[in-house]
């Protein structure tokens, strides 16, 4: 029987999210003081040594991103942007952090800013997260009053301000370059990359874009050190990860555990097992832009390296459980409807492709055995072409669930 390992969520539900005193009493802003006592370069070194990987979905090494954004210490202006546009279906772990402990994110953001030499930051947060927005705004105001934000923070000479910017209901804006377009007050269309945000970000200025959970890891790394951080998780995915488990489980919710936790332990021990008590049929890992895994993979360790071997993804940490009675084609249809709805229309293969594959998926339930397989084959073909010819991750995503559905569940699709 495994238990949760709460580091990021340690004070969630324990302290009052509206009270900076509660956060300070729990040891909050100590890491910031320690960070400011050292050099910015030391922050970047510690984060590199920690092996922390971005928690937004791509798993890119955070330290490398910081090194790139810090560039040469030449005094040019830089931005830190927090990606709080949590829109991946099945994902609600950033909301858990922002609603229960908003100061943790703010402290992480100030540390990141000091590391790369930024004096201005933005938190781009999805417009529907009203509770997160009000709590974060209140926390920012309190941090200003106490001198953790603003000019000459804690007498260090370092100055930093951060402001909230709401999104307005576009999934695509969770992609970092599209997010920057949106932040500049434009339609959420993707940019061509490279250049990456570390070279040309907001207003073409070097910008560090980090996910909420990623930034929330920084205070711990700075206060306790990178080797402490590496005590959790695996060699190549150090730290804990917050998994948002939902679907056919008895206790859906956010669970923080060592990265590398066994999939079935997470479902049974933490999320209370399946609703009907029977073995689950499939898990969609990482959300709509994620991968299907069958019950035979229940011993899978949820870390980047092991999942990659199995052609699966960790993504944002969404674990969507489909119970024994679920029809997977219906789940696939809703995934494809989602992509069809969210395609921005800039790249033709994505605009047309998302519509075609969704419509094909609607044909499957009424088709015969052989016909179903050829529909599935056709959808996978289309999705593969879209992945090759689309600019941003949206057009590159439908292939992930489709290919894994075909790999593991061809017989299920043909017969269910």
């Amino acid at each position: 029987m495994i238990r949760e390992k709460r580091i990021l969520l340690r004070y969630s539900g324990v302290i009052d999210p509206w009270s900076i005193d509660d956060y300070i009493d729990a040891g909050g802003y100590r890491a910031l003081a320690m960070a400011l006592a050292g050099t910015p370069g030391r922050i970047v070194e510690e984060v590199v040594a920690s092996g922390l990987r971005g928690r937004g979905g791509a798993g890119f090494p955070t330290g490398t991103k910081k090194q790139a954004a810090a560039g040469k210490d030449d005094g040019t202006i830089r931005y830190v942007v927090c990606n709080a546009d949590e829109g991946e279906p099945g994902t609600f772990k950033d909301r858990a952090i922002m609603e229960s402990n908003p100061h943790l994110l703010i402290e992480g953001m100030i540390i990141a800013a000091y590391g790369i030499g930024a004096d201005m930051g933005y938190i781009y947060i999805r417009g529907e997260y009203y509770d997160s927005i009000s709590r974060l705004q209140h926390a920012i105001d309190q941090a200003h009053e106490r001198g953790y934000l603003g000019n000459d923070i804690l007498g260090s000479g370092f100055s930093f301000n951060t402001e909230i910017r709401p999104g307005a209901g576009s999934y695509l804006c969770g992609e970092e370059l599209t997010l920057l377009e949106s932040l500049e007050g434009k339609r959420g269309y993707p940019r061509i990359k490279p250049p990456f945000p570390a070279e040309k970000g907001l207003w073409d200025i070097p910008t560090l874009v980090n996910n909420v959970e990623t930034l929330a890891n920084l205070p711990g790394i700075i206060e306790h050190g990178s080797s402490w951080f590496r005590l959790s998780g695996t060699e190549r995915t150090p730290g804990t990860k917050i998994f948002s488990v939902c679907g056919d489980v008895n206790r859906p919710g956010c669970y923080e555990a060592d990265a590398g936790v066994i999939l079935d332990d997470l479902i049974n021990d933490l999320a209370g097992g399946t609703r009907d008590g029977k073995p689950w049929k499939a898990v969609l890992l990482g959300g709509a832009a994620g991968t299907f895994v069958p019950y035979s993979c229940r011993d899978l360790s949820l870390c980047y390296e092991r999942l990659k071997e199995q052609c699966a993804t960790l993504g944002s940490g969404a674990v969507i459980v489909a119970g024994s009675e679920r029809k997977l084609i219906l789940l696939m249809q809703s995934i494809l409807r989602f992509f069809r709805h969210e395609s921005c229309g800039k790249c033709v293969p994505c605009r047309i492709g998302t519509t075609i594959i969704h419509e094909q998926s609607l044909e499957i339930p009424g088709a015969g055995h052989e016909e179903r397989l050829s529909f599935l084959e056709g959808m996978v073909d289309h999705a593969r072409q879209m992945a090759k010819s689309s600019l941003c991750p949206l057009g590159q995503s439908p292939i992930l669930p489709l290919e894994t559905l075909q790999r593991h569940f061809t017989e299920t699709i043909a017969t269910e």
Binding site: R95, A168, I320
Partner: protein, 156 residues
């Protein structure tokens, strides 16, 4: 907040565009962005009307058509859909007589189908204006609609 207060609060910085559009839309009793308001925003930010119109039309939280006082956003993304969101849309149809995208004739309710609201732990879920409602059933929907109608009558 009226328009002038909104423009005082949000400086003419383009990163404020979405926040300004939200504030203006929220301040309209019919929850939408009028052409006049888009023109005023364009003037405030010193950009063309087409810019503001293009942005307002792109993002799904903004509406260029009048809507009800209560916007019911039913999540229809994969998790909620699996847990029965289409049943919720049907229930709302039978209770309010409107389909997704429509507004009741009394101007009280608009039902919208939206993508993941990030409240999958209580699927099927929806939002009414700024509030989240989860683990929806026919019964909970009925009592919620009653409550909202009472709230509205109380304010008259």
């Amino acid at each position: 907040m009226d328009q002038q207060e909104i423009f005082t609060r949000f400086s003419p910085d383009r990163t404020n565009l979405l926040a300004i559009l939200h504030a203006i839309q929220d301040s309209h009793p019919q929850n939408y962005l009028t052409e006049e308001s888009l023109k005023a925003v364009a003037g405030h930010l010193r950009v063309n009307l087409s810019w503001v119109y293009g942005v307002a039309g792109y993002y799904s939280m903004f509406s260029l058509e009048p809507r009800g006082r209560y916007i019911i956003r039913v999540c229809n993304s994969p998790v909620c859909s699996m847990m029965g969101s289409s049943g919720i849309i049907e229930e709302l149809d039978s209770m309010l007589g409107i389909k997704a995208g429509e507004t009741t004739p009394d101007g009280l309710f608009t039902v919208e189908e939206v993508e993941c609201l990030g409240i999958c732990d209580v699927a099927p879920a929806m939002m009414v204006n700024r509030k989240v409602y989860g683990n929806l059933t026919r019964k909970s929907l009925e009592s919620l609609l009653d409550e909202l109608r009472k709230e509205q009558n109380g304010q008259k």
